[in-house]
Every structure is written in structure tokens, then in C-alpha cells.
Symmetry: C2
Amino acid sequence: MAKDYDLSWIMRKNHYVNRLLKEKKEGMVDEDIVPLLELINSLNAYYTTSSCSGRIQIAETEIPGEKGVMRVVAKWHRPITAEELKATVEASEARNLWLGVQPPILHIMCRSIDDALKMLVIARGSGFKRAGIQGIKEGRCPVEIVGTERIEMPLILDGKLIVKYEKYPLLVEKVNRVLLKSKERIKRLENALKQRFNVNSATL
Amino acid sequence: MAKDYDLSWIMRKNHYVNRLLKEKKEGMVDEDIVPLLELINSLNAYYTTSSCSGRIQIAETEIPGEKGVMRVVAKWHRPITAEELKATVEASEARNLWLGVQPPILHIMCRSIDDALKMLVIARGSGFKRAGIQGIKEGRCPVEIVGTERIEMPLILDGKLIVKYEKYPLLVEKVNRVLLKSKERIKRLENALKQRFNVNSATL
């Protein structure tokens, strides 16, 4: 007979897997990260609880990282054009506007400490240097994996343009490169997991 | 009699504490973080292995985060002036130059999983949301604590100024605010640890 913690593991996993399915149907999950999430969920010892594949974000705030104070004006999970950036900045009346490229973030529940340690090794090997166990509970062990590639910079401060529009093409080229590097890293993690757990793509 | 792993814990701790003392004497440790490091080292179940209190950095690189490729041109563990920033940029012949404000980072070795979990709770309560256990070995458990406040932005791309010098005072004000917020958070962690472990400042 299954142990109690096995049953509660399966129940919790079902809850998160079903929520992901529902959110996927509603178009609320970034497609770039779906294959990785489904791969992790196909493994017995793991499931994902939340994720972001990395994004470009425009926010109204005096300094970055002010949760609660910061107001997100626009976000994209894909490369953007200089025109899109300009249109967003022009449309805003904010006195302080920041541009961010945020790295992927992934929360994975692991069934045991050993499963968590295994995941950390794979994540680090795929270039996710910020990966750690967040806590240890009876029969489950949450791991957080965060990318390190990012941009965080002011576009407008005190109502003044910090970067002139004519420089946007140069800037956006780098912004997109940083975002795409994050997306590549997600693919790398996916491939490393497939290899480690002998998952055949056809079985997913 | 002490167990083997107790002896090896004490030997390892001594190694790191002595190295810190040596580096402190040589002026290689940022003073802002020394009281926190000494507090952690005064606790039986912990010692620090490496740290940075947060810094402002100018680096030559095409995109940030390119370890090995990136060349650090200047760094400060304190607020800077617009003049200092301008002088650094003017003196550089780099075609691509990035300005970063990097958050504090702290590596702490903990004697057990329970000691590590205790440290995570205190770190998160002090606003360090990126804190995790990096691995688990016989008798020691490394924890990484990283701040979240940062700036990462290009000053020069393809040889062109992305931010004009006249905007540096506005920019530097924010740069310094982000750095100082990190330093405050270090103080907050220090105070939270003192409270949690009933450490009297006079005994340090």
C-alpha cells in the first residue's frame, strides 16, 4: 500500500498539473517554457508550481524592485522592436519609467532531498547558477531556479528621457539578445533533463 | 569525545575564519559587511565562506553576464558621483560599456539541514528573497543568500553614448539609492540574526 505521504504527493501534484493544463488552455502560460514544464511533470519525483520563461518589461517606479509600488506598463515574452518600445514610452505619462529584461524563474517541487539535489546539479550544469532548495517538508522539497542574464535600466527619470529615442535600435538589439539567451538556457535545461532521465521526446 | 564530523567542521571553520581575518587585515573585505560576517562566525552552527556587500561596477562587455569575456573597468563598494562615472567612461576606449549595481551575495556554511533552514527563514524575513540551500554534505550544508535590488544597463554601445553625460546626475542618484538599499538590507539581516540568536553586540 502507498504511504500517506505518497498519496498526498500525488494529490498535490495532480492539483498543480491540472492548474497548468487549465492555464495553458487559457493562454496564460508562456509557450516557450511549456515543453520544459511538461517534461518535469512527466517525471515521478517532480512537478512545477510556477514559472516564467523570462520577459521584457516596462514599469513605472522610482527604483526597481519596489514590489507593491511598481506598476507594470507593458510586458513581452518575446523579442520586441524599437518602434514598440518607443510607442510604449511615448504613451506613458510616468515621471519614472524602467526597462527590464527578467530572467527565467522556475519553482519545482521535489519528492525528496536527493531528488532536489539531483535537480540542482542538472540546473547548474545548464548554466542556471542561482538554484537552491527553498525548504524541506515531510515528503516534499521546493527548489527555485533563476537565470542570471538581465537588464534593469531607467528610460525616464523625473520626466526626462535618459536614453534618446534614436538610441533605441542599438538598445533593443541588446535587450533581445539577453532575452533570447535566457530562452536558449531553458532549452539547454530541457535537453539536460531528457538526457539525465532517459526521456524519449516521443513519449511526452 | 567529539565526533569526527565535529572535528572536521571546526577545522574547516577555522580555515575560513582565519582567511577572513587575513583578508580583513589586507583591506580586501568590504567594511560594510564585516560586522555581519563576524556575527555569523560567532555562532557555533555557521561560518561564512565568501561574500560581497553589493557594488557599483563598470564593465566592458557586449551583453552582461558574459563571464570570462567581460572585463571589469572600475568598481566601488560605496556611492559614487556623476563626475567619477563620467571620468571612468571618458577614460575607457571600450566600444561596449555597461554599468551595474550588483546586490549583496553571501555564502554561509551551516552545520545541519535544520541550521540551514533556520538561516533561510531569517534571510527571507530580512528581505533576501533569493536564499537557498546549495547542496547537502555529511555535516555541512552551504546556503547562498542574494539580494534582488540591481541595475544593469549599457552606457556605450557600438562606440556610441547611450546615456548623455548631462543625464549622469539623475542616473547616479538612482544608482546610489539602489546600492544604499542593499546596504540597509545587510544591516537588517544582521539585526534579525542578533535577535534570533540572542547575541549581545558587546560580546562580539
